[in-house]
Symmetry: C2
Subunit: 345 residues, 2 copies
DNA sequence: TTTGAAATTGCAATCGATTGCGTAATTTTT
DNA sequence: AAAAATTACGCAATCGATTGCAATTTCAAA
């Protein structure tokens, strides 16, 4: 085979003295073609090393069998796992994935989405970036008749399909666990409140305090502490307070929880005896710190699969208007050493 | 805009009473179109919310501006980083990425590659799976005139573009470091030898021993210990030997190094005083274990960028035959607590 | 042997954008 | 103002596969 020369259905047809129509039909398992000629076609296709040109096929059929995914960062555990889950579920159905990363930049996110619309993807799956809260570009996706599925970080005001975690409940359970373990002054490291996930986690925190009749102390709540560094910084602030907290819920991530742990270590504050720590996301490392970090597992791979299956399910749906649907996955609290105040873990 | 109805260049042309040719030319910044009409076209395109149908465009142009990536697992730090690097570099050039994971399964790898050929990708970037060493499917890529770039885990016998780490040298330096730190009996956890990367790391290990006049002791070399569990298993075997090693080079990954560390801890063997440990890959967690693990950084994001740039560079190359080219990135030894035998780290 | 129904195959348009070639319109030159 | 040289635009084919409709063939029933 010559470089750059693909064999087409016409080549096959010519060789067999028939029409491309029949070749196409044979290749598509249409029952409108004689069994004998089908076999002949298949054999020849194989001999000529024929590979269908999907571009042409999709152009004709009006779909691309491609799903676009936009995430802040591909190389972040949670997102990598979700993508892995999506890939697994979509690959089986012959769909391809186009991956873009927004890098937490709203502008690049818009660019990515437009690129995907151009690519004629059948569906766009997105977890929005942290900055910006104007969602015209997402509305645009819908207007183009492309299925839109949001996951994890979602724009709540947009009525689309969504797959989320029950952040509030998970957060509530985490804080409840801290309280029941005997911690009394619980600090909160919170994330950017324009992201609903962080807002919900804060609500869960507040609800837990209320449930246990604990007053909310504003100075124990640190804004925007969603990286390891910011987490460490917030922790330093908290632990040098006249009345420092005896537990910190790093609601943004295990990374910030790690920052807490390192500061505590540096300040010779004993974890979990003098300070309880709870993170979020069950990153691989949370299990191997010492002490290991209590955290919340989000079932990220499963989340990806759920997104994919939701798409296929809705695709089969012939209703003209897809009604918004929200699937909520309940995360699981993983109790580890960092909150074993009384030796129980 | 109606759902499912995209505006085409014909719509624009009709509205303006001109031909699609001019619209196309205007949209492609051809200089064969009057400035006035171009502006008119642009404005109308905007009004009609026109988005170019890339499928049609690519079909006509004979390329897809798409690069296919096949890795064993997306959600593995190293690969996620490489992909992030590729994405970053390709996105700027208007290229898209289609991602597939082979799951370390040779058969699925073949499927993935065929899918990508079907998709008419301009280039396939691959890191081969661990099982199987028949590379007909890769030859097939070349035969289809698609650029093939292998990275990290490469099929050496295939003459393609490659981006690799200098595994042997890195391994040599790691083992040299162990020796110079005072360790004398150095065990090796090796990976599947059908993967060249693991073979090279073994060669580096052997070369270092030779350089320092240390005899190779076969019973200190454990085959196929490339997960945390297998690493732990191998370590148990090594440490119960009549003459156990005083250092272990987990040449496969930090995961297996972690396995080593946990077994050592369980057996109350002090690291680094009684046992030195060196891993590979600089996973995020290697920094936060106690002690932290000495390891080798592979510059994974940079590797991804290098792959992408290599593609663009070769694309510009008009030679009919692309000669094989290998770019080797020198990894860096990161010395940490797990090898600080004499207190020096 | 005819007739009718069913099974095959061919014809030609279509998906949307691009581009070589040719013609008309505009500008420049003399 | 006519001739020459540009410039702008249209025509029609093309990329490769799919599909409705028509034409032909096959086969069985009458």
């Amino acid at each position: 085979m010559k470089k750059g020369k693909r064999t087409t259905i016409y080549d096959i047809a010519a060789k067999l003295g028939i029409t491309a129509s029949s070749v196409s039909r044979a290749l598509n398992n249409s029952n409108q073609v004689n069994e004998k000629t089908r076999e002949l076609i298949m054999k020849t296709a194989d001999e000529l090393n024929y590979k269908r040109n999907i571009l042409a096929s999709n152009l004709r059929k009006g779909h691309s069998k491609t799903i676009g995914v936009v995430v802040p960062r591909i190389n972040q555990n949670f997102f990598a796992n979700v993508i892995a889950g999506i890939e697994e579920a979509t690959y089986q159905k012959g769909y391809n994935l186009i991956i873009c990363q927004s890098g937490e930049l709203h502008d690049k996110e818009i660019q990515c989405v437009n690129t995907l619309i151009n690519q004629d993807v059948d569906c766009i799956v997105i977890s929005v970036s942290a900055d910006g809260n104007d969602y015209q570009h997402l509305q645009n996706v819908i207007d183009h008749g492309i299925q839109l599925i949001q996951f994890d970080r979602v724009a709540e005001e947009l009525e689309t399909l969504k797959v989320i975690n029950d952040n509030e409940q998970a957060s509530y359970e985490a804080v409840s666990h801290l309280i029941e373990s005997g911690y009394k002054r619980i600090g909160l490291l919170e994330g950017p409140q324009n992201l609903s996930i962080f807002k919900q986690r804060k609500v869960g925190y507040l609800r837990a305090l209320k449930a246990y009749n604990i007053d909310v102390i504003d100075e124990l709540i640190v804004e925007n502490a969603w990286t390891k560094e910011l987490g460490a910084e917030g922790t330093r602030k908290l632990l040098t307070l006249p009345q420092p907290p005896d537990a910190i819920f790093a609601s943004t991530s295990d990374f910030s929880a790690l920052g807490v742990l390192e500061v505590a270590n540096a300040m010779k504050i004993k974890v979990p005896a003098e300070l309880g720590i709870c993170g979020y996301a069950n990153e691989g490392f949370s299990e191997i710190t010492s002490p290991s970090i209590t955290t919340i597992d989000q079932f990220s791979i499963y989340m990806g699969q759920t997104v994919a299956n939701l798409y296929f399910q809705e695709k089969g749906n012939t209703d003209t208007v897809t009604k918004p649907k929200i699937i909520s996955i309940k995360p699981e609290l993983i109790i580890r050493g960092s909150t074993a105040k009384n030796g129980k873990s």
